[in-house]
């Protein structure tokens, strides 16, 4: 069972709902702590040291509501998290995950600087969404706690046994085996490897690359379970995030297609035909061409999550931290749907083209 501290200035009665939601799904014990004079630091430090505290959920504002004794903190969640992180860096506090809990209303004021804010925390959740989201939130918390507990300097222990069959970039193994504090190494795996397309791909990208309309193909789960299992990612965070090794998928394709056409150059219907013939699974349907000219799908539109051939997408203005991460694209369809609203998110070099496409 995971023991998690919930640091919040709300009254215990108001927090009961949160507590119940989060502990109902999975085996998690939530301990509520009202913040005051940084007493939380000792609680966290001792708990993490003894191994009976696995994480802390911190409210964005800690300085609004007094407890029964009339006490109130005069600092906010970010300050507290900063202090915990800096003590984790000097190893005065053992590495445990920090989660930010807030309301949509309060986080609004921080929108401009959300990225640097989020960097302090392993993940953030909105209180308002908990009634709908609590299962997902609990699963994410559990997956992150598991990652902190099982982080290792060995790449195959972090990234799963399949990693031995591929060439992982040395930048990745350097971080995993390096000297950075635990929370930075965990966050690197989650943010740079799991949440971005690159060596690992998500289910929708996997389906795009195999050309399969996975939402309308009854055999999709059989394909995943029976044939793609050994291309799957089984490392840290895999309990919540389903990922596949892009390289192993390509190798699998090379095997079943006898390398007649590289995966990237085959059309969706060619891909599906070869997969059907080789696996014997009949209920797989290729992704329809729709308004696209090309069905050599490789990525998914960042906005609409539909499969696209990158050549027909508009490059997003995101800057990758690493070369092994893939570019993200917006589809023409997304552009037509969201118009000018989307333009600022398109790479400056492709904005004129995006305007032309809109006005054409």
């Amino acid at each position: 069972m995971n023991r998690i501290l919930l640091i919040d200035d709300e009254t215990p009665e108001n927090l009961d709902a949160v507590k119940t939601l989060l502990s109902s799904v999975l085996e998690q014990e939530i301990i509520i702590l009202h913040p005051y004079q940084f007493n939380e630091l000792d609680v966290i430090s001792e708990g993490a040291e003894k191994g009976d505290l696995d994480g802390a959920i911190i409210d964005l504002r800690l300085d609004q509501i007094v407890n029964k004794a009339g006490e109130k903190a005069n600092y906010r969640g970010i300050t507290l998290a900063n202090e915990i992180r800096s003590r984790q860096m000097s190893d005065d506090i053992k590495g445990i995950p920090l989660f930010l809990l807030t309301t949509a209303d309060k986080i609004k004021n921080y929108e401009q600087s959300i990225d640097s804010l989020i960097n302090l925390f392993d993940f953030y959740f909105k209180k308002d969404n908990l009634p709908d989201d609590h299962q997902k939130v609990a699963s994410i918390i559990q997956s992150i706690i598991h990652a902190y507990k099982n982080l290792s300097k060995e790449k195959d222990q972090c990234l799963g046994g399949e990693v031995k069959r591929i060439g992982v970039h040395s930048e990745i193994t350097d971080v995993i085996g390096g000297k950075m504090p635990k929370h930075q190494r965990v966050q690197f795996i989650l943010r740079e490897l799991i949440l971005k397309s690159g060596p690992l791909i998500s289910e929708s990208v996997l389906a795009a690359r195999l050309g399969v309309d996975f939402k309308n193909s009854d055999d999709w789960s059989n394909l995943k379970k029976t044939f793609l299992l050994e291309c799957g990612y089984s490392g840290l965070f895999s309990s919540h995030w389903n990922r596949w090794w892009s390289e192993l998928i390509q190798k699998w394709w090379d095997q079943i297609s006898e390398i007649k056409t590289p995966l990237q150059l085959a059309t969706a219907s060619e891909r599906v035909e070869i997969i059907k013939n080789s696996t014997g699974l009949d209920n797989l349907n290729p992704i329809e061409k729709g308004e696209n000219n090309s069905t050599k799908f490789w990525a998914v539109c960042k906005k609409l999550e539909i499969a696209i051939d990158p050549i027909e997408g508009f490059r997003s203005n995101q800057t990758n931290n690493y070369l092994w991460q893939e570019q993200e694209y917006y589809s023409l369809q997304a552009l037509r749907e969201f118009h000018e609203e989307l333009i600022p998110f398109i790479h400056p070099l492709e904005r004129t083209m995006a305007w032309d496409a809109l006005n054409g």
Partner: protein, 255 residues
């Protein structure tokens, strides 16, 4: 043989391809040439006592450009190039592979696929063309006769791949014929990028020719791939019968 041993004697080209590719991509990024650096995959395997190292580079996309003269149809407003390639090299123990082994032996497979995508201003219509550099391996040693004599490394336009690119099957008034196989120097990833830049992004190419880092990449890779190739070509007029035979493999038109 253990893998580590293999890397040691196969020289510096295979084991650090990835880091050279990274450095090269960063250099190209400075010039904003690529819209997607693509992905790299390396395999190495052993077959009949020989060791093979194969490098796949896929999905490299060059930025959209409007500065290409003379495109038809006229409504094609911008072009982008996509590069996919596969280079498999072969090593034999005890041979320094590019001094003693000629090019035909050390490159066991080479496919360079250069796809040209054109699009209209409104992005509704796409047009395609394709160049392909490959190595002819069909009947090596079989003693048979090819239907058409091909230089070992040849460049040709169109081909089956172009038909695959045009998913709409709409070819306009243009008819695609089997194109002549034009002899060309072998291209690895760096040389293939240079080929594309010199033909489609001349301004960037001229700028890069002034960049020492770029020139060094080209120098190194030309020594590996072009020097032995051109040496082998020249061997046809030498006296060594084996070397003469190799030269004819490169260019069957030698008389």
């Amino acid at each position: 043989m253990v893998e580590a041993d293999f890397w040691k004697w196969s020289g510096h080209f295979s084991s650090n391809f990835r880091s050279q590719y990274d450095r090269f991509s960063l250099l190209l990024n400075n010039y904003r040439i690529l819209r997607n650096p693509g992905t790299v995959r390396e395999d190495s395997f052993e077959l009949e006592g020989k060791y093979f190292n194969s490098i796949h580079v896929s999905g490299v996309q060059f930025r959209w450009t409007e500065r290409v003269r003379g495109i038809r149809p006229k409504d094609v407003k911008s072009l982008s190039i996509e590069l996919n390639m596969n280079l498999t090299r072969c090593y034999e123990r005890g041979k320094k592979y590019f001094d003693e082994t000629g090019i035909p032996d050390h490159i066991s497979e080479l496919i360079v696929q250069i796809d040209i995508h054109g699009k209209t201003k409104d992005a509704k219509k796409y047009y395609y063309n394709s160049w392909h550099l490959d190595q002819d391996v069909d009947d090596k040693g079989s003693g048979g006769r090819q239907e058409y004599p091909h230089p070992l490394f040849h460049l040709h336009n169109g081909g089956r791949h172009l038909q695959e690119l045009v998913e709409s099957e709409d070819y306009g008034d243009i008819c695609i014929f089997p194109s002549p196989r034009i002899m060309h120097l072998p291209l690895d990833y760096f040389l293939a990028v240079d080929f594309i830049l010199s033909n489609f992004y001349p301004n960037d190419w001229y700028a890069l020719r002034e960049d020492n880092q770029y020139i060094n990449f080209m120098k190194k890779t030309q020594i590996v791939y072009w020097k032995p190739f051109i040496g082998s070509m020249n061997d046809f007029w030498g006296t060594d019968a084996d070397k003469k035979k190799k030269a004819v493999e490169l260019l069957p038109q030698y008389a």
